[in-house]
Amino acid sequence: MTDARKPILNRSIGRRSLLLGAGSLGAAGLIAPRLGMPYIGNAAAAEPIKIGMIWAKTGNIVDQAEYLAQGGMLALEQRNNMLLGRPAELVWLDEPNPQGAQQNAERLVGEHKVAGIVGGALSSFALAISSVANKAKVPYVAANAAAGEITGKSCNKYTFRLQPPVEVHTRVLAPYCKDIGKKWYLLTAAYAFGQDIKRSFEEYAKANGITIVGADEVPVSTPDYSSFILKIRAAKPDVVIGGLSASDLTTYLKQWNELGMRGKIPFAEISVGNTDLWGVGPEAADGLYTLTWYYKNPNNPPEEQAMAAAYEKKYNRPAADKAWMGWLGMKSLLDSIEAAKSTDSAAIVAALEKWHVKRGDLDTGYRPFDHQMVNRLLVAGIKPKITDKWDYFDIKAELPKTQADIDAAFGSQADSACKMTG
């Protein structure tokens, strides 16, 4: 300790100072409510309800995470930042990597005492947050992650997932790829999401007489794909199945076009984000995709159209699919807290299991046995000529069509690897 600091630290508090301080605090407690500062005198009653958000603020998924977070914030703003008649606030922490996501989930639970968490932009992050949610018994909505494991073998009572898993996307997109040709090349990211895509497309190929002429796992944040593209070119596939996420997909498509492959070999990928294609630009955008939502889909229910309008008004750009996912994930949690009339975890979990919204003819909600949201997907291609810098997609179909098809695509409880305990 330096000499300069000693007198300050050793300074004693006099009797007068103590009385003056106590008197001031008391007066503040009496006066504050009349000045519009209600939380000093009755802090316990008006303490805000905190909701945790874990969306990336750094790294290659940050472009999607920005929209996911904005959607979540919009959901709370639409309630005037109130829950159960009390002020509510969001605590947004980063997810730089799976370890960071886990630590920040623990901080949200331990330090901020959140009533629930929404987040996990990548599957590896979502799995890390899910394990904390299960251990701490805090409701968690994984709004973006698609790896099957989240509501499969690693499912738990406290984790709910909005995005259809990779297998469902595959069952929707693979028949289109099969129609293009029977020689496939797989280019997938070397983590849970990409590995799931590789496995599920390989299974489909095996069952349908399709030949995999090449399969590469690509490290996350690869800056140059030219060497991979040369391998694809030499293998001469009928279609390339991608499993890259966010800015990795953007970089790949830019270089795919630069190396003259656009239009020569069709490219297809499941579960892409609008922002991934917006970053590619109209000259280089290409491919056939599954999307979870599109702002120009005329079948969007009125409440979602209102959300899209409110988003565009606030942020001066259309609501990307990720904004919708962040919004719906947060809305489901907030609705369930209201329905539970409490911040008790067990009550919120029970309410989340019952929560549902009407989307066209479909009652969309989380299945009680694995907490997977059941919803339709969009199959979309890139417009031949893009004239609006935001409107890249031609919607080809909204699938699966019938309730029976939906049940088949999502699988039954008997098929599920999820064995929920506790």
Binding site: V220, P223, S227, F228, T251, E258, L259, W278, G279, A284
Partner: protein, 289 residues
């Protein structure tokens, strides 16, 4: 298979030149000023964003001003921040430039948002050339040409001009050069500006190939450090050889063991440092000992 190896080797060399361009500014700043510039990747991203805005507002040719603007920002940063670190604990420079990298990324995110922005090469550089199994795009050949020209020009400047001699002398013995009446602070600002200009040039040239987001800095800084470390800290020739080695190693790993592609350059770095701890062309400099 031989065709593919040839094709990947040529592609790796071209990719290597892009790595050289990204790394050489970092090498110059360390070699001449003794500052480990962790914000180099952020200046790379700044160059890409300057190019994007200039091209959008005034056309592609205006984007050529992006490196100059990045260099100017670098000179301002040197005068305001970096100048106070010369001769001090190297860790201070590392901490300050790390903070600067975060600040620049945050500013880019605040101004442009986190979403990727589209940016394409000019039309006259679209298309590719094929020689048997070798496929090269006109744009990558252009990047190669610009990189070689920039490297030769800077080497000639350092070797044959009086100002270049002052920079080299000042980097070895600043006190003596100062005693000769030369205004060294101005010289050092210029050197830092040149390093940032080269980062901005790499950002401009990489923007049509990479995703333009504020986080693109992170994709540039790690290869840059690997190249500079393999080449030998501060070595101009070392950065060039190392960049090409990293490019070829990455391309070959993708051909034969693609899942190791991300780790290949680090394995190469570890192997070279085990054999030669100062890197391929690293020298013992009295001022850094």
């Amino acid at each position: 298979m031989l065709d593919m190896i040839l094709s990947q080797t040529v592609n790796g060399l071209v990719l290597g030149f892009l790595y050289v361009l990204i790394a050489v500014g970092l090498s110059i700043i360390f070699g001449l000023l003794g500052i480990v510039n962790f914000a180099h990747g952020a200046f790379f991203a700044l160059g890409a964003y300057f190019a994007l805005v200039l091209a959008r507002e005034f056309g592609w040719w205006a984007a050529l001003l992006a490196p100059l603007l990045t260099g100017a920002v670098g000179m301002i940063v040197e005068v305001v921040l970096i100048r106070h670190l010369y001769g001090k604990e190297p860790l201070l420079g590392l901490i300050l430039t790390f903070a600067l990298a975060l600040l620049i990324e945050a500013i880019l995110r605040m101004v442009f948002g986190g979403a990727p922005l589209p940016f394409s090469a000019p039309r006259f550089l679209s298309g590719f050339v094929e020689y048997g199994p070798i496929l090269l795009t006109k744009y990558r050949l252009f990047v190669l040409g610009v990189t070689v020209a920039a490297l030769v020009a800077f080497w000639a400047f350092l070797t044959y001009t009086p100002f270049g001699r002052i920079i080299r002398a000042g980097s070895r013995d600043a006190e003596m050069v100062g005693l000769l009446g030369i205004n060294l602070p101005v010289v050092f600002s210029f050197v830092f500006g040149i390093g940032c200009l080269l980062a901005g040039l790499a950002g401009l040239l990489a923007a049509p190939l990479w995703t333009v987001t504020p986080s693109m800095a992170a994709s540039a800084i790690m290869p840059a450090f690997v190249v500079v470390t393999i080449g030998g800290l501060g070595s101009y020739a070392g950065a060039i050889i190392a960049g090409l080695l990293v490019g070829i190693t990455t391309a070959m790993t993708i051909q034969f063991q693609p899942e190791w592609a991300g780790a290949a350059m680090y394995v190469l770095m570890a192997a070279i440092l085990l054999l030669r701890p100062r890197g391929l062309f690293g020298e013992k400099w009295e001022r850094f000992e």
